[in-house]
């Protein structure tokens, strides 16, 4: 036993020392500009050796602590590198003239004032709010109605449920192109036959915006429906029976019993649709790519008639190569979403207290 533990201790110390040495050597190589191809693998192998050494370290009282550290490390490390550091850098860059690779100086709030002077951006913001409001109402109404349908005692309810949910499986880019085809090639033929109208709905800003809403509802209502179905099945059967005996009709039962009893589900769905509509990007990009003319928006002519906020941020940074401005817009986007989430948490907490 003691021999085993002493050899384990040796191994642990050797690994710890080798790990530290490996990491130090690779860092030295990096800072001295050696550019040796082994420094990367050396750093990683060093870190792994260090962790294994730590794991083998023969201690009873600290073993739990070491395991906690090793278990948390991978996720925290990736999380820090992909979320926390970029977030802090991003807020910082929004006050500079960053070009995606480096920045030369601080320019204060210039990015923020620039974006509010840009009518195209104001248009995108207003359009996004309009889109969010429309979707929040429509997706919830459609989803809820479909949920009522799917919880009624009809034949084929399971098929309906699956059929309504199916669009949610498809990524926004692919379904955007499928709908582009449906609008440009199928719907045009139908409208041409009925009214002789040859233009695609996507060619006009207003109808294209409605088309995005239709596609979004098509994609998202099935998902919201599923959540409502789960909510509706929690409404106790005896309460429904009691209301029926008291002579309540279907509408009264719905409004006075079902809706109040699934209030928390309604809150969840409202905020789900709200945040996801805000972040809408893929469908917007694939369906219209934000194009569409607005002849007079506070005296200026716009060409981004259907461009929503997320796509505006992307185009500002990637297509127009204005990283700092795009980043400032993204920070604003973040602040709006954070406010929405805080309101949501407030409301849900209040509800829980009431219940």
């Amino acid at each position: 036993m003691s021999e085993n533990s002493s050899s384990r201790k040796m191994l642990s110390l050797v690994l710890l020392a080798a790990g530290v040495a490996g990491m130090v050597v690779s860092l030295v190589m990096d800072f001295s500009g050696g550019g040796s191809p082994v420094r990367g693998p050396l750093l990683i192998i060093g870190a792994i050796a260090f962790l294994i050494g730590l794991y083998l370290f023969p201690t009873v009282e600290h073993h739990r602590g070491i395991i906690n550290f090793i278990f948390l490390f991978p996720l925290l490390f990736t999380f820090a590198v992909t979320v926390i550091i970029p977030l802090l850098l991003g807020i910082f860059y929004s006050f500079t003239d960053w070009n995606g690779i480096k920045f030369t100086g601080f320019i204060g709030l210039t990015n923020y004032t620039t974006m509010f002077k840009d009518p195209a951006f104001i248009w995108s913001v207003l359009l996004t709010f309009l889109f969010v409001v429309f979707n929040m109402v429509l997706v919830n109404l459609v989803g809820f109605s479909l949920a009522l349908l799917c919880t009624s005692k009809l034949k084929g309810v399971n098929f309906f449920r699956a059929a309504y949910f199916l669009p949610n499986l498809i990524g926004g880019i692919v379904l955007g192109y499928i709908w582009q085809f449906a609008f440009n090639n199928v719907l045009v033929q139908i409208t041409a036959a009925i009214s002789g109208h040859q233009n695609s709905v996507l060619a006009n800003t207003k109808t294209a915006f409605m088309a995005i809403i239709v596609v979004y509802i098509w994609q998202y209502a099935g998902y919201i429906m599923l959540i409502y179905v789960t909510g509706l099945t929690t409404v106790p059967k005896d309460v429904l029976e009691a209301s029926q005996i008291d002579g309540a009709n279907a509408w009264t039962t719905l409004m006075k019993i079902k809706v109040p009893m699934i209030a928390s589900t309604i809150t969840i769905c409202t905020f789900l649709t709200l945040t996801s509509a805000f972040k809408q990007f893929d469908v917007n990009m694939a369906l219209t790519n934000g194009t569409g003319s607005v002849t007079d928006f506070f005296g200026s002519y716009l060409t981004n008639g259907t461009q929503m906020l997320a796509l505006n941020i992307y185009n500002t940074a990637i297509s127009k190569n204005n990283y700092a401005l795009g980043q400032a817009k993204a920070v604003l986007f973040f602040i709006i979403l954070a406010c929405v989430s805080i309101i949501q948490v407030r409301i849900s907490n209040k509800k829980e207290v009431e219940m």
């Binding site: 990096d30 420094r39 990367g40 990683i44 395991i67 906690n68 278990f71 948390l72 991978p74 996720l75 925290l76 990736t78 999380f79 992909t82 979320v83 550091i85 970029p86 977030l87 850098l89 690779i101 479909l146 349908l149 009624s152 005692k153 009809l154 084929g156 098929f159 449920r161 699956a162 059929a163 309504y164 949910f165 199916l166 669009p167 990524g171 880019i173 692919v174 192109y177 499928i178 085809f181 449906a182 199928v186 098509w218 099935g222 998902y223 959540i227 029976e241 589900t265 789900l272 805000f278 972040k279 990007f281 694939a286 940074a317 990283y323 795009g326 986007f333 979403l337 954070a338 989430s341």
Partner: protein, 286 residues
């Protein structure tokens, strides 16, 4: 509650109409992959011009298209999704267990940061993310951009918060006595986790795997930024986007590509319908 027969019929009809509407785009895709470009434009809805040999022609011209490189993109997507899901389930489970079973200031703080980070939209981190990854990649001498390990790393970071959130809720419900008993029997903490806790997590890991899997498989923005539009490595959504960009209005090719991108998801859905629908709901409610 018995419904009147007339109402039942009306509801069924409404249900069928909505189902036709939701399934119609799928019908369009499937039907038109059986046609050549001219028939698609002439009659996009009907059966005219449908032939099996045309399907084969369309499929082979898309699959063998060197710009699209279907099998390569498909394989890349499968590899990225599968590795990310395994890594997220394993590391997420480990982290959630530590957070849940240690009631210290640190674990609470880490948990709070994870929860709070879920409101961060991708747009606010995407631009610095690319530069950070470029810098880290240069630093360690391994490219994180345009590489599969880099994108798995990113998914691990972005999916971590939600995974930990859902798993923590589940682990709280596992009686702590189980772990105490294991510890008295001489089981090490890591042994307790891998032999006792982790196997118990199976149902909830199914849930997070479905949620993460749907997101990673369909995600466009992150891979398009990290891998680049015309990079060597492409996931399926990025390949479809690039392909459509270079074949504007060639609907026979575009719709066939769309069909190929949809099929894997639909097949998985048909196999695991119940789990997927339940998983999506559980993820939303928690």
């Amino acid at each position: 509650m018995e419904m009147k027969k007339s109402r039942k019929i009306i509801l069924t009809v409404i249900g069928i109409i909505v189902a036709i509407y939701t399934l119609f785009p799928f019908y369009l895709v499937v039907m038109n992959t059986f046609k050549n470009a001219n028939s698609i434009v002439a009659s996009p809805v009907g059966f005219e011009g449908v032939s099996f040999s045309q399907l084969m022609t369309n499929l082979s011209s898309v699959v063998n298209n060197s710009n699209f490189n279907f099998w390569y993109a498909f394989g890349t997507s499968v590899i990225i999704t599968v590795i990310s899901l395994v890594v997220l389930a394993l590391f997420g489970g480990m982290a959630a267990w530590v957070i849940c079973r240690n009631k210290t200031k640190w674990s609470t703080a880490i948990y709070m940061i994870f929860i709070a980070s879920m409101i961060i939209p991708f747009q606010v981190v995407m631009l610095p993310l690319i530069s950070t990854f470029r810098d880290v990649g240069n630093f360690v001498g391994i490219s994180l951009l345009q590489s599969i390990p880099g994108i798995v790393f990113a998914y691990c970071g972005f999916g971590g918060a939600m995974t930990v959130f859902i798993l923590t809720g589940f682990i709280k419900g596992i009686p702590y006595e189980l772990e105490e008993a294991a510890s008295i029997d001489g089981c090490s903490p890591e042994g307790t986790f891998f032999r006792i806790i982790f196997p118990l997590l199976t149902p909830v890991i199914t849930t997070v795997t479905i949620l993460n899997g749907m997101w990673i498989w369909n995600d466009y923005l992150l891979p398009s930024l990290m891998l680049g539009q015309n990079g060597k490595v492409k996931t399926l959504p990025v390949a479809v986007q690039a392909f459509v960009g270079s074949y504007v209005k060639q609907w026979d090719l575009i719709l066939t590509a769309a069909l190929l991108a949809i099929i894997p998801m639909v097949i998985i859905f048909l196999i695991a319908q119940k789990q997927i629908m339940n998983g999506m709901v559980e993820g939303a409610i928690k």
